[in-house]
């Protein structure tokens, strides 16, 4: 085995390649003979053509989410969308209360933003998800207070692929007059997303999780531009004053096309991926001592997060370097830190530390899955052989 072997890409949850059809639309907005003008240059025809393409993309993104076009605000990605949603709503509605509810298993873009608001005087309740890592109204309701202004819960968890039970949370928020933000970065294009069905007031999406380009995303804001947020980035008043900066035509057009394709192809693709995923899981679980992390039923088709008994995480990752996968542990820091998501799920340290996230997508094939299964089985077996047995010398836990 050497590093020059062709890598099997099983990290679609980290990022996806850009679909070639999307690449073509993007290139159409770049070069000197393309639609490169500034969409803000309304004084000339090339600028207006760029603006038209931006607005068409806005309609595509709105359509995928069941939203109206002016409710879509372009951002640089879901990290910015999450920041803008949470800080923007918190600061805009600061006079109504300074309490926010979220979950312990959110993405860092939500958690770090909440930590920042804590420094600025907000109070945050971080609820622990229920069975199988699912966040539902049962966890959120007890955390609500009269001064709660915002609830933020992700749609699909990026580490374990579980699908939270959002509609009842949306309903609850509506009843209590609390804003509801959904981080849908891992959901858009993977399963049906409808802002009304979810009861979402704010919803973050990113292009690069759905075969669009990195560095562009959107925030859905219900009722925009009449409803408002405190902007984070000032200067020129683009996007109804809520997000200034030159609009990146090719990025936005790429996101629009990616979301259009996702809308058209999602149902068939979800089926194909679910069956590939099942094949992958069947192959891995055959090893024995393999645990699926997160609810086995409420999940997106593309993501499997598994823990292996008796193998150490860093060695596993290195042994599997022909696979591009993510690990549930942080190896570069002094003390290896297991994923906060798996810890919130109650996984013990050994299992949390030896977890892998395998995520498949549009270009994954059955052959790749089969090769991956063969590799994982061989390497897990080898590492288990290297490992001391429980009955080796004194007891397992002794120093």
């Amino acid at each position: 085995m050497n590093d020059k072997h062709e890598t099997i890409y099983l990290d679609y949850a980290a990022t996806t390649p850009v679909d070639e059809r999307v690449v073509r639309c993007m290139v159409d907005c770049l070069g000197p003979d393309a639609c490169f003008a500034n969409p803000a240059s309304s004084s000339h025809a090339p600028g207006r053509e760029a603006r038209n393409r931006v607005e068409r993309a806005r309609r595509e993104v709105a359509a995928l989410l069941g939203a109206k076009p002016p409710e879509i605000i372009w951002t640089s990605g879901a990290t910015e969308s999450d920041n803008l949603a949470i800080k923007g709503a918190a600061r805009f509605h600061a006079d109504r209360g300074r309490h926010i509810v979220t979950s312990r298993t959110e993405h860092k873009a939500v958690l770090d933003t909440c930590r920042q608001l804590e420094k600025e005087g907000w109070q945050i309740t971080y609820v622990t998800p229920g069975e199988g890592g699912i966040v539902s109204a049962a966890e959120i309701e007890p955390a609500l207070r009269p001064d709660t202004v915002l609830v933020s819960v992700m749609f699909v968890n990026n580490e374990i692929g579980t699908v939270n039970d959002l509609a009842p949370i949306g309903e609850l928020c509506r009843e209590r007059g609390v804003l509801f933000h959904v981080d849908a970065a891992q959901a858009a294009g993977k399963l049906p997303v409808n802002v009304d069905a979810l009861g979402a007031d704010l919803l973050s999406v990113s292009a690069h999780k759905a075969y669009g380009p990195k560095g562009v995303g959107a925030l859905y804001l219900r009722g925009s531009p009449k409803s408002r947020l405190e902007p984070m980035i000032h200067g020129g008043g683009h996007e109804w004053g809520m997000r200034s900066g030159t609009l990146a035509t090719h990025q936005i057009v790429g996101m629009g096309e990616a979301f259009r394709l996702a809308a058209a192809e999602q149902p068939a693709e979800a089926e194909r991926l679910a069956s590939l995923r099942d094949r992958l899981w069947a192959g891995l679980s055959g090893l024995g001592g393999v645990h699926l992390n997160g609810d086995p039923a409420r999940r997106v088709p593309g993501i499997l997060n598994v823990s292996f008994e008796g193998v150490e995480g860093e060695s596993l990752l290195f042994a599997l370097r022909e696979l591009a996968v993510s690990s549930g542990s942080a190896c570069t820091s002094a003390s290896r830190e297991a994923s906060y998501v798996l810890r919130a799920l109650g996984r013990d340290d050994q299992l949390a530390q030896s977890s892998l996230r395998l995520s498949i997508g549009r270009y994954s094939t059955r052959e790749e899955v089969d090769r991956a299964v063969g590799l994982v089985r061989a390497q897990v077996e080898r590492l288990r052989e290297i490992s001391p047995r429980d009955d080796d010398e004194s007891t397992k836990g002794a120093a």
Binding site: E314, S315, L317, C331, A334, R336, D349, S387, K396, G397
Partner: protein, 129 residues
Amino acid sequence: MSLHAGLPEYSSEVRRRFERAPRLGHLAGKLPGRVSGAAGDVRQGVRVVFEARLAEGRVAQCRFRAYGCPHVIAAASWVAEHAEGRRVDPAWPDVHQLARLLQVPPHKLGSLLVVQDAFRACMAAPREA
């Protein structure tokens, strides 16, 4: 999750020992002069076990098993191999020497200590009759 989940660079010595794991295993059968020792805890991410046969104040044979990162596996393998033929020496091996030889990054010294502890425990253990 992927942000900090990087792999360090491994030296070619670490890679070779991780792949082939020379001196992995047990000393088979009933052996006079056999000693064994262990250190670490799987729950903390590192556990190392050594077995050796001592004869005339020297290590005649040595085997290891390890749960840990590639540096730990490589270090245990190196220690087992280089122990053979050596005089029993309570001050050997030395983590800093191991770190240098295998090019182990400083934050891994703690894991190498487990290897050292396991080998020293083995040397200090009562011999089988």
